[in-house]
Amino acid sequence: MAQAGKFADKALQLLRSYPRVALNNLKDMPGAYKKNFNKRRSAGKNKTHGRGHKGMGQRMTLPPLGYEGGQIPFHIRIPCEPYYKDHEFRRQYPPFSLLQVQRLIDMGLVDINEPIDLLTFCNTAHYDCSIEDNHYGVNLTEEGADTFQAQINIEVQHASEQVIAAIERNGGVITTRYYDPECVKAMSNVLKFLKTSTPIPKCKLPPQDAFEYYSNAKNRGYLADPEDIVQARIELAQKYGYELPQISDESKKELLLRKKDPRQIFYGLEPGWVISMKDQCILKPLAEEHKEYYAS
């Protein structure tokens, strides 16, 4: 983007002695446009244009790439190892480090007196989450774990043991939580979602292969037994050698205990409600079958 500084000043100093920058003396970078050319006619110079005399080379009828003269080719001879099989359907969790979280807090873009979740990250515009790329939320990574100092109530989609220890060492609370693509879409651009005036979606339960992760107390899963989580917190503190700080402040305690319902995606708003931006009001479902559908 716009660069100013030592080199810019030097260039501007040179510009002083040059003719006026005007419409007649502008040009694009050399090589900005790639020119396609016909290989047979215009490439090269001499009479054969570098293609030699006669045969498949000159006539562009060479065998296809990978053909080994009749021998079974490499790509058929060697068995397939499908590392990337079904990659287009796999869940992706774009990483976000503890250092970046700390930076957002220091810059005042994230308020630590409110619970932090995917919505908070997306609203800062410093984190990208798009369902087109199969993004399912944030993977909180360890970078900056040693210097992390905020006491927060955070909800992420994936976190390692070290990250959980870093948060809990400072007296914070971390939860791992699954959101289905519809919810991720609503949270990634919340203004766009609210303008559509559609009911807030009911969050689905995690798929079969993710259910174990989110019901494990070691991962602080949102479907785990709360008593197991208390035990896991103590165990992790012993493993990493820190003491879980006692929280005396009532308001802080209230913040740290705030938790969403497994079906809920926005704090304070329940699934099924319609937010009308135009009329500045909330419409709640009245029909019994709707209530039944959106019930947790």
Binding site: A2, R20, V21, D28
Partner: protein
């Protein structure tokens, strides 16, 4: 009414905002809706003297302003400085010095970015109407011109074949065709910064306190620009589209001097005109708008599409 003694107060970096409030108040009095008698008596505007060339403004001793508080100053770069001129007098009188933001007025002059902007401004509104009829769209040509065989001539099927004189055009232009596309916002903002920096570096950027001139006189404006060597073409930019009356009447008669509000500022016009004249209020607005876009993390949401 033009009455400079009410305008100019002793200004330093702290009470700079007072200057703008004065300017705003003054503008209201001079540029409100014109009454019927105002229209008939243009010369009646002038209170002091009939000859604007000899006009002497009443103001405190110079310099009036020596620095300007930047809204978001750069931590590492010193601010750029420029003279503050006035258009109240014929001769060039420096009212003081103002600071300019280095990220806006000291950008690396990327000529390719300027080229991209100018190219886009030329293309996005251009519609190519050129059109040529194909052999199917031309009249006639249904009958075989001459028999297939035994005439000794080449075989032909239609007199509208592309190889015929007055035949149809093969693969000709099929207008109207739109060349609309949208340059990315980043490049548009970068282009504006580059153009302002290039103007500043080449001494073609003038900053004035306001566009007030003593009389609605075309000759006075031409003389003023001659005396100060501002060149053949000048672009005046003010913060809003309601400009001082005297100035508007004078500049309206001269085709190569143009006035523009900040919201119309663009790379093409800046490079087309030899000199760019900004009012202090315009500088303030340009800086705040460009810095806001430069430093916001918010992505461009609107997408422009053209479907043929």
């Amino acid at each position: 009414m033009f009455c400079p003694k009410h305008i100019f107060c002793r200004v330093n970096s702290q009470n700079l905002k007072n200057l703008f409030t004065f300017n705003a108040a003054r503008k209201l009095t001079t540029t409100g809706i014109l009454k019927a008698e105002d229209k008939t008596d243009v010369a009646g505007e002038l209170e002091t003297t009939s000859d604007p060339h000899l006009y002497v403004p009443d103001r405190p001793p110079l310099p009036i302003i020596t620095s300007r508080q930047l809204e978001y100053p750069s931590e590492h770069l010193p601010s750029k400085q420029a003279w503050l001129d006035t258009m109240a007098t014929l001769e060039d009188e420096k009212l003081g010095i103002v600071d300019l933001h280095p990220k806006i007025f000291g950008t690396y002059p990327r000529l390719d970015i300027l080229h991209n902007n100018v190219d886009w401004q030329r293309k996005y509104r251009f519609i190519d109407y050129s059109f040529a009829r194909s052999r199917a769209e031309m009249p006639g040509g249904g009958k075989k011109p001459h028999p297939q065989k035994k005439t000794g001539r080449a075989r032909q099927g239609s007199i509208r074949s592309p190889i015929y004189f007055r035949g149809g055009k093969a693969l000709g232009p099929r207008g109207p065709k739109s060349y609309f596309y949208m340059l990315p916002k980043v490049k548009r903002v970068h282009g504006l910064c580059c153009a302002l920096s290039a103007k500043y570096a080449q001494n073609k950027l003038i900053i004035v306190d306001s566009l007030e001139i003593p009389k609605a006189d075309q000759q006075f404006l031409e003389d003023l620009i001659d005396v100060r060597f501002w060149g053949f073409s000048v672009l005046f930019v003010d913060d809003s589209d309601i400009m001082p009356r005297n100035f508007s009447l004078a500049v309206n008669q001269i085709p190569h001097f143009n006035a523009m509000p900040v919201y119309g500022l663009n790379v093409y016009s800046m490079l087309k005109h030899e000199t760019l004249v900004l009012t202090l209020a315009a500088v303030e607005k340009i800086e705040s708008k460009l810095l806001q876009i430069l430093y916001s993390a918010q992505k461009e949401d609107v997408k422009f599409e053209y479907n043929e």
